[in-house]
């Protein structure tokens, strides 16, 4: 069955949607757009759609991806156009393409995420000091945080999950560009990194009021970065 890959954004005004809310919103938009999506077999048929990654409540995103399986071939321009008109405000379709059958599932493929994180600072922060402290932070071989799990607080080393981390000062706020590993093994959340940094550096960064925006999702493979829309 043909598969369409759709790129969309989760805007600021809908950043408080949970992943479940987002999935439902998409399923309903697809139905409104009358896209011939395929359904799972069985008593309670589900539309066949898969997402690259869940975006957390409160986090907006410039680029998210979903695959939808189609009952039959449809012109991708038609899908993108109809879907765009059926999207609730704040969720916008950025593009789409038909991907070959052999393309791995998004979840299996996408393994990196980049974020912009902005945090209020209690007192003015010096840019050079910030850079120096980030360099020190990254040179730490192990960054262990307490992670809340179902079994209580567990220690977790987040250092392997950080691919890049830069900071800059803008007025009374501190901004970070942050790259993380995504996926079942060792994925870290942006707030974990920024809060661990605030704690280690002692800088007056209010990590309870972070404003997080996901900038990109991609696949890191053999030293190359592959955009999910760029599959062969």
């Amino acid at each position: 069955m043909p598969r369409a890959r759709i790129e969309f954004s989760k805007g600021d005004r809908v950043r408080f949607l949970s992943h479940l809310d987002l999935m439902k919103a998409m399923a309903r938009a697809i139905r409104r757009a009358e896209i011939p999506i395929a359904f799972s077999e069985g008593f309670n048929p589900h539309p066949k759609m898969n997402f690259a990654s869940a975006v957390a409540v409160g986090v907006s995103s410039e680029s998210e991806y979903m695959d939808i399986e189609l009952q039959h071939e449809v012109d991708i321009k038609e899908i993108v156009g109809r879907l765009a008109r059926a999207m609730p405000p704040g969720l916008d379709i950025k593009g789409g393409r038909i991907v070959p059958d052999s393309t791995p599932a998004l979840m299996a493929e996408v393994n990196r995420a980049a974020y912009h994180v902005s945090a209020p600072a209690g007192e003015p922060v010096n840019g050079e000091e910030l850079s120096a402290k980030i360099a020190h932070f990254l040179s730490t071989p192990e960054i262990v945080i307490e992670k809340r799990t179902k079994k209580g607080l567990r220690p977790k080393d987040i250092r392997p999950g950080i691919t890049h981390f830069r900071g800059s000062v803008s007025g009374e706020r501190v901004g970070f560009l942050l790259g993380t590993v995504l996926g079942s093994d060792g994925s870290v959340r942006p707030e974990e990194v920024v809060c661990a940094f605030a704690k280690q550096s002692g800088l007056p960064i209010d990590c309870d009021s972070l404003y997080i925006r996901r900038i990109s999702l991609y696949t890191e493979k053999d030293g190359k970065q592959i955009d999910p829309m760029d599959v062969n």
Partner: protein, 624 residues
């Protein structure tokens, strides 16, 4: 404003999507150029309020007018309220985040008595004075409607005008009056506006009525204090459900709400005549939609919402004369595209189980029936036309069709109830268990019989409006007795807090005087009373004590047959004589049949109101 809330409050509250306000199909109108602005307030949280069809209907109708906008307001959850009060921001509407004080009208829907404290809280959070007498024309006009407005008196001091009955047509007349005065060049006095409003049939303006009392606290009379207010306010009613405006582009919430599906109303009213049931009295007569209307609306609704489930709603959808044909068409049409059909309410008979079988897509584990009482004697008293045979056939059908769970709804504290009736509840539960053992065989281990017992609350405009409620202690004793009798591995017994039911009864049958206790209770911190975690019984008792209100006077006293009832000036179209005769028949154990299947019961509605029983199916189903 939106940004401020988004940055300071939303990251710190649970379920922030409740306050998002930009859902699909929400209506965002140009604020400055729209002459009339109405905030529709549902005095409970978003997920509850958004599940209410009346809101959807009025939102659609009002926003269809070019000259008016309607935006939504819900009771913010306690965490959100705390933040609002902390940073001193008044409560706002969801669509444009405008403070409530900027609206011309605050329109509340009253669905249950225990939401009254939330209504006061919403006014207060909006910075609006609670008392109508403290608000002049500079404040929003506060109006209210919905089923609980049929006894408006407990809210009389707070509400400027009530609309009694169905709002689809009357709302236009109300808006026209408000617009006229708002645009009058010299400004206006609120009394001028109210004087015009009260001329609209169905509109009740409490300040135009004086209540006088006897020494014993009962009402002497309720009379208009102005010549232009009617002695009786007759409810509004829509004659034709096929032609009345119905929302086919309803809002699709982002977050899961209680009824997260298309709500397609198939008929209005119920004439089964259960004597405790207020809905069965106040929504008469029964009016059905044509099958073509339903199919047409279903198609538009699916296209406009993208929902994957259509619920055919009404007080009793199994009674719809065209139910089978409509179900078949809908299942044929939407099954293949993954849209399911559901029936919200089922009668306890095998016909209903057949319907349930027809629509079930997911093998749901539980079917729910409401025999209401444990013995035939008591079911006759309450005129619940369901027999044990009906119920057992229904349960058998359900087990044979694969259901392994049955939920049985009962009421305790019904008039004339004795120990045999409580035993009857337990006996029925055990009979269902036995039947399950016989039919389910190896799957018996999965059987779950849930017995739910709510406490009878006498309601205005019903044959049982005169009946006292059992005391809290008596209700508790009955609950404990049943809990002991229903100890069984396959039975789960649930009951409601008797203290909550007793306060509900005070406001269900209270007059104007109980308003003081309501305001006091709110001042003492009562809100979200119907939420178990937030119900503060001790504060309510304190509020009654401090305002000199004896709750038992309203909840536990038999009201006299010649007594003027607090709601006697509100007219549902049903004759008081009919209610009295139903009351008498109840105590004689005599039943009254449904006028859809038998002769007219002379309730008075079709004679008094501009509407008639409107059935679309010709030959009707056999009575259940």
């Amino acid at each position: 404003m939106r940004q401020l809330i988004g940055n300071t409050i939303l990251p710190k509250v649970i379920k922030p999507v409740r306050y998002e306000g930009n859902e699909w199909n929400s209506v965002h109108k140009e604020w400055d150029s729209t002459p009339v602005k109405i905030a529709f307030a549902f005095p409970d949280v978003y997920e509850v309020g958004m599940s209410h069809l009346g809101l959807r209907i009025l939102y659609h109708i009002v926003n269809s007018r070019e000259d008016t906008l309607m935006e939504r307001v819900f009771a913010p959850w306690v965490d959100f309220e705390e933040k609002l009060r902390e940073i001193r921001i008044p409560l706002f509407s969801l669509e444009s985040y405008k403070p409530l004080t900027e609206f011309d009208v605050m329109a509340f829907t009253l669905q249950y008595e225990m939401s009254f404290t939330n209504l006061l809280n919403i006014l207060n959070l909006g910075g609006i004075p609670l008392l109508a007498s403290d608000r002049d024309s500079r404040w929003p006009l506060v109006i209210a409607g919905g089923p609980t407005a049929f006894n408006p008196e407990p809210l009389a001091p707070f509400i400027d005008a009530f609309l009694i009955g169905e709002g689809e047509e009357a709302i236009h007349e109300i808006i026209d009056v408000i617009k006229k005065w708002k645009q009058s060049p010299g400004g206006y006095q609120k009394r001028e506006l109210l004087t015009d409003l009260v001329r609209i049939p169905g509109v009740y303006v409490p300040e135009f009525y004086d209540v006088t009392y006897h020494a014993d606290g009962t009402i002497k009379e309720v009379v208009p204090n102005v010549s232009f207010a009617p002695a009786h306010v007759v409810k509004r009613i829509v004659r034709n459900l096929d032609t009345v405006d119905f929302p086919t582009g309803p809002i699709v919430p982002f977050t899961e709400i209680v009824h997260d599906r298309i709500m397609l109303e198939v008929l209005r009213g119920c004439s089964r005549g259960c004597r405790f049931c207020q809905a069965g009295m106040i929504y008469r007569p029964v009016r059905e939609k044509k099958p073509e209307t339903i199919l047409q609306q279903a198609s538009t609704l699916v296209k406009n919402t993208g929902y994957d489930e259509i619920s055919l709603t009404s007080l009793s959808t199994g009674d719809y004369t065209c139910v089978q044909g409509v179900l078949e068409s809908l299942v044929d049409r939407y099954g293949p595209v993954g849209v399911g059909i559901s029936l919200p309410s089922l009668r306890a008979d095998s016909f209903s189980v057949e319907l349930a079988k027809q629509v079930q897509r997911v093998r749901k584990t539980t079917l729910t029936f409401a025999p209401e009482a444990g013995t035939q004697r008591l079911r006759d008293v309450i005129n619940k036309g369901v027999t044990e045979k009906n119920l057992m056939e229904a349960v058998e059908g359900a087990f044979r069709a694969g259901w392994t769970g049955v939920k049985l709804y009962f009421m305790i504290g019904l008039p004339t109830e004795d120990k045999a009736d409580l035993d009857g509840i337990a006996d029925l539960a055990y009979k269902v268990v036995d039947l399950g053992r016989d039919i389910l065989g190896s799957r018996f281990g999965r059987l779950k019989v849930t017995v739910s017992a709510s406490s009878f609350v006498p309601k205005a405009h019903t044959p049982f409006q005169w009946v006292p409620q059992d005391s809290i202690d008596t209700l508790k004793e009955k609950q404990h007795y049943l809990a002991r009798r229903l100890k069984h591995r396959r039975i789960v017994f649930n009951w409601h807090d008797a203290r909550l039911s007793s306060i509900e009864a005070v406001f269900a049958r209270g007059g104007r005087r109980v308003a003081a206790a309501l305001e006091k209770a709110w001042r003492l911190g009562c809100k979200f009373d119907s939420w178990t975690d937030h119900f503060k019984f001790d504060k309510w008792i304190q509020a009654f004590a401090e305002t000199g209100i004896d709750p038992a006077f309203y909840a536990n006293r038999p009201f006299g047959k010649d007594e003027v009832l607090p709601w006697d000036h509100i007219d549902t179209g049903i004759n008081k004589e009919f209610l009295a005769s139903e009351y008498e028949k109840a105590f004689r154990g005599e039943t009254t049949s449904d006028c859809r299947y038998d002769k007219c019961t002379d309730c008075g509605v079709c004679q008094k109101l501009p509407a008639a029983v409107d059935l679309k199916g010709g030959a009707v189903n056999a009575p259940g």
